[in-house]
């Protein structure tokens, strides 16, 4: 069942879900949100796309394989625990840097954000692997 309306909607909605998921991911440190939910949202866009077209095309749209998303996510999460070691703190200690932005105050970046990015990518990848596999059965 291929419907042109759904296909059009899916290809328009996909970028929106990605942007939204990034927003939700970023606000997650102090507000509801975070890497897990962000990853779910990012995956949902592609799942909708795969339902409208096919898993092959969704795969093509994603460009990288979901497996590399998982590998990248796990690597980033693991690396985020290490900067604390150079500062002499126990492993996993949160480290922050503040960047002064010209137009809107300061941007705080830190290893917890990096860890959350790892979660985001891993959840995204795992969900896609599971769903794509089930859809292909």
């Amino acid at each position: 069942m291929k419907s042109y309306i759904i296909q059009l909607a899916a290809s328009r909605i996909l970028p929106v879900t990605i942007v939204l998921s990034l927003l939700v991911f970023y606000r997650g440190h102090n507000d509801p949100g975070g890497g897990f939910i962000g990853g779910l949202m990012a995956a949902s866009g592609f799942i909708f796309y795969a339902m409208a077209f096919s898993t092959k095309q969704a795969q093509k749209k994603l460009k990288v394989s979901p497996l590399s998303l998982i590998a990248a996510g796990l690597s980033i999460a693991t690396l985020s625990t290490l900067p604390a070691l150079f500062a002499g703190n126990p492993f996993f200690t949160g480290k922050w840097i503040s960047i002064n932005l010209v137009f809107s105050g300061t941007l705080k970046l830190g290893t917890p954000l990096l860890f959350d990015l790892g979660v985001y990518l891993t959840v995204w990848g795992i969900l896609l692997i599971i769903i794509f596999n089930i859809m292909d059965e």
């Binding site: 998982i70 590998a71 796990l74 690597s75 693991t78 625990t81 703190n89 126990p90 492993f91 996993f92």
Partner: protein
């Protein structure tokens, strides 16, 4: 400070590397093996460090206990880490040939690393909820491993395995919830301190029972063992051997940890219960094994029987008893894994696990007979192999604690174990080849080196443990003394200044 986290980080990093090199199948076994070797080296280093400098504590994220997640490595944990390392190294080596290409290219090696990460995490965490999380990591990896390949028989075994383990996780989680509600803390050392000062400790028994059921299911203790023989013989033998060596022992480890650290108030109820349960586990396991003819099933039932010995050591609850349990666990992890691996070799030669369909192996493969006899008679407790000393320590601890009944039961069960091992020996090696089978499927082929080497190494370890009982037992005694008197553990985790406040 990162050292205490290495047992978690090394498998995680190997897992990531395995995912990155996913498309190069021929690299996978070697990366897996390299990761396992590295983690074994780290574990040995940590063991030496713990022996020289005492308990290692890492407050991850710089959140001090009892607020953050604490990683604690005491003598018992370090000992278990080394054992896990040895098993995973042997299994990684053995799997190169024993696990087919199909499975190898579908996340077999990453999942072994994931399993190792969960097992190691469970050994070193000092936080009860974190222990639950590591159990889940371990179980998730084991769910994948047990269903990998998707044969019909495998799936029917996996359904039992998965559902029973999920039930057990539910009990565990409920127990944690209740305990947290009553004490307001999840840190194990803090729990020990709070519970030792609480007034109505009897209220803790509701959590203690839930924990007991949860760990009993994981450790396959009577009367919760039935999932184990129903599922363990279904996956390829390398996976079975890995599970047999590590998974049930994590249940036993957690039981020993928790019932020595903080559920110690109601001794009059728990310790006799452990002795009863241990006795029943031994007897039921060994008797049901006697009626089986599939090698994997015989060995699976023996896992259960031998868990009983460890529970017995916990029930005796003296330093010697716990040390006996630890020593026995070390012996059992190595010898049990090895018997499964040898069963795999026998299967490679004969093409069958069924004792009725094989025979006369001694004539064509005398070396295989020797490789079998070391772990098998080690399990049965023939001197000078490791099992003899394990049983000797436990039984003498039982006698000196005045627990005569369980000690006699343990002696009798040893005889029945011998009976089962002799049965495999007779049927597979001694009796003439069954009629109608001119040649076994793998009779002409040479056994691959990667399969024989781990068996030989583990056999050598069983022998070494028999000849070097003293240093190992001394270390087990040290670990047991730390467990029986947890004040050193509590001090190491909470620090002295915190203790004064409370």
């Amino acid at each position: 400070m990162i050292l205490p986290a290495l047992p978690i980080l090394i498998p995680l990093i190997s897992l990531i590397l395995l995912l990155i090199t996913f498309n190069r199948r021929q690299w996978q076994p070697w990366i897996g093996l390299g990761g396992a070797l590295l983690q074994l080296a780290a574990a040995v280093y940590l063991l030496v460090l713990v022996k020289n400098e005492g308990i290692l504590v890492l407050h991850s994220g710089n959140w001090q206990a009892p607020f953050g997640i604490t990683l604690v490595i005491d003598a018992f944990s370090a000992f278990m880490l080394v054992l896990a390392g040895i098993i995973v190294v042997s299994i990684s080596l053995y799997s190169i040939d024993a696990v087919d290409r199909q499975r190898q290219s579908y996340f077999y090696f990453p999942m072994v690393q994931g399993l190792l990460m969960g097992v190691n995490g469970a050994f070193i965490t000092g936080d009860i909820f974190n222990l639950y999380v590591w159990f889940e990591v371990m179980l998730t990896a084991s769910f994948v491993l047990i269903t990998l390949g998707g044969e019909k028989k495998q799936l029917s075994g996996a359904v039992k395995y998965v559902s029973l383990n999920l039930v057990s996780s539910l009990f565990f989680l409920a127990g944690i919830g209740l305990l947290y509600g009553k004490t307001g803390t999840l840190n194990m050392a803090d729990l020990a301190l709070k519970l030792s000062m609480a007034e109505n400790n009897i209220l803790m028994n509701s959590s203690a029972v839930l924990f007991f059921v949860a760990f009993s299911i994981k450790a396959a203790v009577f009367p919760f063992f039935f999932w184990l023989p129903a599922s363990y013989h279904t996956p390829p033998i390398a996976i079975t051997a890995l599970f047999a060596g590590l998974l049930t022992k994590v249940g036993v480890y957690s039981m020993i940890r928790i019932y020595t650290l903080f559920f110690v108030q109601d001794k009059l109820f728990w310790h006799p219960l452990f002795l009863w349960i241990g006795g029943f586990t031994m007897v039921v396991g060994v008797l049901t094994a006697a009626s089986q003819y599939d090698m994997r099933k015989i060995l699976s039932f023996h896992i259960i029987s031998q868990i009983g010995y460890m529970i017995m050591g916990l029930g005796i609850f003296t330093v010697a008893g716990i040390a006996g349990a630890i020593f026995y666990m070390a012996h059992n992890i190595i010898a049990k894994t090895n018997t499964f691996l040898v069963a795999g070799l026998i299967n490679r030669v004969t093409g069958s696990y069924d004792l009725k369909a094989i025979g006369g192996l001694y004539k064509i493969r005398p070396w295989l007979a020797i490789l079998f006899i070391i772990p098998a008679f080690g399990l049965a407790g023939i001197p000078p192999l490791s099992g003899f000393f394990g049983k000797l320590i436990l039984i003498s601890a039982g006698f000196s604690a005045g627990e005569y009944v369980i000690s006699f039961v343990a002696l009798a069960v040893g005889l029945f174990t011998l009976f089962s091992m002799v049965k495999i020996w007779n049927e597979a090696f001694w009796k003439p080849r069954p009629e109608g089978i001119p040649a076994f499927s793998g009779e002409k082929e040479k056994l691959p080196f990667t399969k024989v080497l781990p068996v030989a190494i583990l056999g050598l370890l069983t022998l070494t443990m028999g000849f070097a009982v003293k240093p190992i037992l001394d270390f087990a005694m040290e670990a047991a003394a730390q467990l029986i008197d947890p004040s050193a553990y509590i001090h190491a985790v909470l620090g002295t200044e915190n203790l004064i406040h409370q």
